[in-house]
Symmetry: C2
Subunit: 420 residues, 2 copies
C-alpha cells in the first residue's frame, strides 16, 4: 500500500503564528517521507476539501516552507465555515471522506479553534463509520485563548504582546500631552466572549499609576456609574486615563455595549466600534478631550512584534500533531502544558478531542481585580511568559519579508462538484 | 560672565523619536560644558517656561539621557499651546524673556512643527527688542511631514514605517479570509492636511495587486461614485480591497468627511471616525463585509518598530541645533538635505526660520497617481529610504524598556506667577 498523504487546513480567524504551525506540520512530515506522502493543504480552509481544491505543498521549496515561520495570516487561505451537525448535513462529511479517499489522504490536520476541534472530532468518528479510517489531529489556534485543556493557545501570546506594547506606548503619548490636550485614551481590542486579550494589556502597567488604568472585560458586567466615577478619579489623580476595552464588553443582561443602539457624541448612529461609543459617553458626561484607537486586524497580524514563546509553541504544536499521527493517535489535540515552579517551562501534552470541542475557557475570576477594572498578580504570572522574546522577521527595504507561496493546485480526481 | 544655560521644550503632538532629538540636544550640550551651562526643559513644553516650571536635566544620569534615544513620546511633557501674536498677547513673550533672564538662559531650543517654528522666530526677534538677546533654534518635529525646506521631518519616517508594515500585515489577514469573510478593510491614519502618512502606506504594495488598493489623500477631493466603483472593481478582481484613508480626506469644498465639530487649542477640528464612516457607506451600497482599524496614537508612539533612519536624523538634528547655537546662529532650523544620486544620502542643512514658519508642504501632485488613489514611482523613491532600518529598543520581560526621567524641578526665582 502506498504511503498515505496528509491534509492540512487553516480554520477561522488567522493569527500572526498560524503559519508557524503549518511550518511545523509540513517540515515534520517532510522529515518522515517514509511514512507520510505529500501534504495537501485546503485552499481557503475546509472548503478547499469540500470543493476538492487542494494545494500541493510539495511544490514549495524548503526555504519557502521555512519562511512560514515568520509570515503572519493564513498562507493557504482560511475560512469561516462551520460544518453543520451530522444530522443536518451528513453530505458534507461524506464529501470530505470522498475527497480524502480520492487523494489517498490518511492524516487530517485541522488548525483552528473550538469549532474546528468539533469538526475534527466528527470527521474522525464518521470516517470510521464509513470504512475509510482517518487519523484526525487538531492543531490549536486562536487569539481568543479560550480553548480548554491547553495552558494557552497559539496566536494569543503575540496579540497579548502587541496589545501590551501598544498600550504602553500610547499611554506615554497621552501622559506627555494631557496637561493641555487629550485626557482619556481608549484602545479597543478583540475578544468577544473572553477577556484574555484585554487582560494581557494589563502587563503594560509596571508601577503604581501606570496605564492601563481601566480594563473592560466581557466577564464583568459594565456598570456605567462605576465606570464614569473611575475615569474621573483617574484623571484627577494622574492627569489622564487609559482604558483598554474588550470588544465584548457587555451589560449585565448580556447585551454588548457596541450593539446597544446608542448614538455617538456627534449624533451619528453607531457603526460598530465600542471605543468611539465610550469616548462619546465620557465626553458628554465628563467633558474630557479624548482619543481612541481600534486595533482590529492589526493586533492579530502583527508578526513584526510576535512573541518568541508563541512562535516556538505554534511550531512545536504543528510538529507534535504529525508525531502523534505517526504514533497512531486519532481524535487528539497536542496542547501546551505549563510546568510547575517559578521559572516558566512548557511542554507538549495531549488532549482528547471530545473534551476540547465546544468548551470555552473564560478568564478565571481571580485573574480580575475585585473592582473588575484590572488584573491580579496570578493573572500577571500567567500572562507574562507568553509575551517573552521578540521573534523578529527579516527585513528588506525597511519592510518585513513575508513569503508568498506558489499554492499550486492538485489535479482533481472526482467528477462530482460540490457547491459550497 | 557665567556660561549661559539652555532651555529646551517639546511642542505639539509627540512622536516616536522626539526624545531622540532631546537626547541629541542634551548630550551635545553636555559635551560642551565650557560653553553651555545646564539644559533646562520646559515641563509640558512652552507652558513650563511661562509658569517658570523648569526641569533640571543635569540631574539625570548619562544612561537615562541616552535612554531617550529609544523612548517614544515627550519625556518632559509637551503641549498644544499656541502663543498668540505679539499684538494680541505681548505679555506672554515678555514673560518668557523674564523667565529666561532669571535663569540665565541664552539658548532656546524649540522642538516642534510649523506653529512652534513661528513662536521660535518671534521669541528671537522680541528678545532682541527687549535687550536680552537669545539664540533661538528650532528643532523640526512632526509626523505630518509638512515643514518646508527640510527633505523630511523627524517622526514621519517611523509613522511611515508603522503604517506600511501594518497595512502589509492586515492585508495578508484579509487576503486569507476573503473567500468567506471580510472583503473590505479600512485603515484610518493621521494627516489632517497633507497625505504623507497615507501615502507612505503605499510602500506596502510591492507587486501588482498588492494592498493598499486605494489610498484617500486630503489633497484629492473625495469622489463618492469613483470611490465606490473602485472598491467594487478591486473586490471583483482580487477578492478583497484594502483602503488606507487619511483622517483629512475631504470633499471638494474642503469639508472633512469625518468633521466632528470639536476643535483643539489651535482651532483645528478634532477628526477621527472616518474608517467606520467609509465602512458604513460601503456596506450600504455594495454589501461587502468589512473590518476597520483606527491606529490613532498607536502609529506615532510605535517606538518598537521605529525607522533607524528616523532615529538617526532626529538625534542628528538635536545635535546640530546645539552646534549651530555654539557657532552663534540664531533664528534657524537645522534640516535634512537629501543627496543627489540613486543611493540615499542625507546631511544636515540650515534653514532660516522666517522661511519655515507657517508654511505647509503638501504632497506634490506627481507623487499621487493620476486616478488619485495611489502613489507613483517618484513617491516611492522619496518614501523608501525614510523607513529603512529597524531601531529596536531593548526589552525586559517581553516589553520594551523605556526610560522614565526623574524630572526634578528647578527652583523658582521669580515672585510673579503667570497663569496659563
Amino acid at each position: 500500500m502506498p504511503r498515505k498523504n496528509a491534509f492540512y487546513a487553516q480554520s477561522g480567524g488567522v493569527t500572526a503564528v498560524i503559519n508557524a504551525s503549518a511550518c511545523g506540520v509540513i517540515e515534520t512530515a517532510r522529515a518522515h517521507r517514509a511514512d507520510i506522502g505529500k501534504v495537501y493543504a485546503g485552499r481557503n480552509g475546509i472548503i478547499g476539501a469540500l470543493r476538492e481544491d487542494l494545494i500541493d505543498t510539495s511544490k514549495e521549496s524548503a526555504a519557502a516552507i521555512h519562511g512560514l515561520l515568520s509570515t503572519p495570516s493564513g498562507a493557504f487561505g482560511s475560512c469561516r465555515y462551520k460544518l453543520k451537525s451530522l444530522e443536518e448535513n451528513r453530505a458534507e462529511y461524506e464529501r470530505l471522506i470522498e475527497v480524502f479517499k480520492a487523494h489517498n489522504i490518511g492524516y487530517f490536520f485541522y488548525n483552528g479553534g473550538g469549532d474546528s476541534a468539533d469538526t475534527c472530532l466528527k470527521i474522525s468518528q464518521l470516517s470510521e463509520t464509513l470504512g475509510y479510517p482517518l487519523q484526525a489531529i487538531h492543531v490549536p489556534k486562536t487569539i481568543d485563548n479560550d480553548l480548554p485543556l491547553t495552558d494557552n493557545c497559539p496566536g494569543f501570546g503575540s496579540v497579548a504582546k502587541y496589545v501590551a506594547i501598544s498600550t504602553k506606548e500610547a499611554a506615554l503619548d497621552v501622559a506627555s500631552m494631557c496637561e493641555t490636550s487629550t485626557k482619556v485614551f481608549i484602545l479597543e481590542v478583540m475578544g468577544r466572549h473572553a477577556g484574555w486579550i484585554a487582560g494581557a494589556a494589563g502587563l503594560a502597567a509596571e508601577e503604581e499609576g501606570d496605564a492601563p488604568h481601566i480594563i473592560l472585560f466581557p466577564e464583568i458586567a459594565f456598570n456605567h456609574k462605576k465606570f464614569m466615577a473611575r475615569v474621573q478619579r483617574t484623571v484627577k489623580r494622574f492627569g489622564y486615563c487609559v482604558i483598554v476595552a474588550s470588544e465584548g464588553a457587555q451589560y449585565k443582561d448580556g447585551t454588548f455595549l457596541s450593539e446597544s443602539g446608542v448614538k455617538d457624541a456627534f449624533g451619528h448612529s453607531q457603526l460598530g466600534g465600542l471605543a468611539p461609543l465610550l469616548a462619546g459617553m465620557i465626553k458628554d458626561e465628563l467633558g474630557y478631550k479624548y482619543h481612541w484607537a481600534v486595533a482590529d486586524y492589526l493586533q492579530r497580524s502583527a508578526r513584526h512584534i510576535a512573541s518568541q514563546t508563541d512562535v516556538d509553541q505554534a511550531y512545536a504544536l504543528g510538529k507534535a500533531a504529525v508525531e502523534y499521527a505517526l504514533a497512531g493517535e486519532n481524535a487528539v489535540m497536542p496542547c501546551i502544558e505549563r510546568g510547575k515552579g517559578k521559572r516558566y517551562r512548557w511542554s507538549i501534552g495531549k488532549a482528547p478531542l471530545d473534551k476540547v470541542a465546544n468548551v470555552e475557557k473564560m478568564m478565571p475570576r481571580n485573574y480580575i481585580t475585585r473592582d473588575g477594572f484590572g488584573i491580579t498578580e496570578p493573572a500577571r504570572a500567567y500572562f507574562a511568559p507568553l509575551i517573552m522574546g521578540e521573534a523578529y522577521p527579516d527585513y528588506r527595504g525597511g519592510l518585513p519579508v513575508y513569503v508568498k507561496l506558489k499554492n499550486h493546485s492538485v489535479e482533481r480526481k472526482l467528477k462530482r462538484r460540490f457547491k459550497v
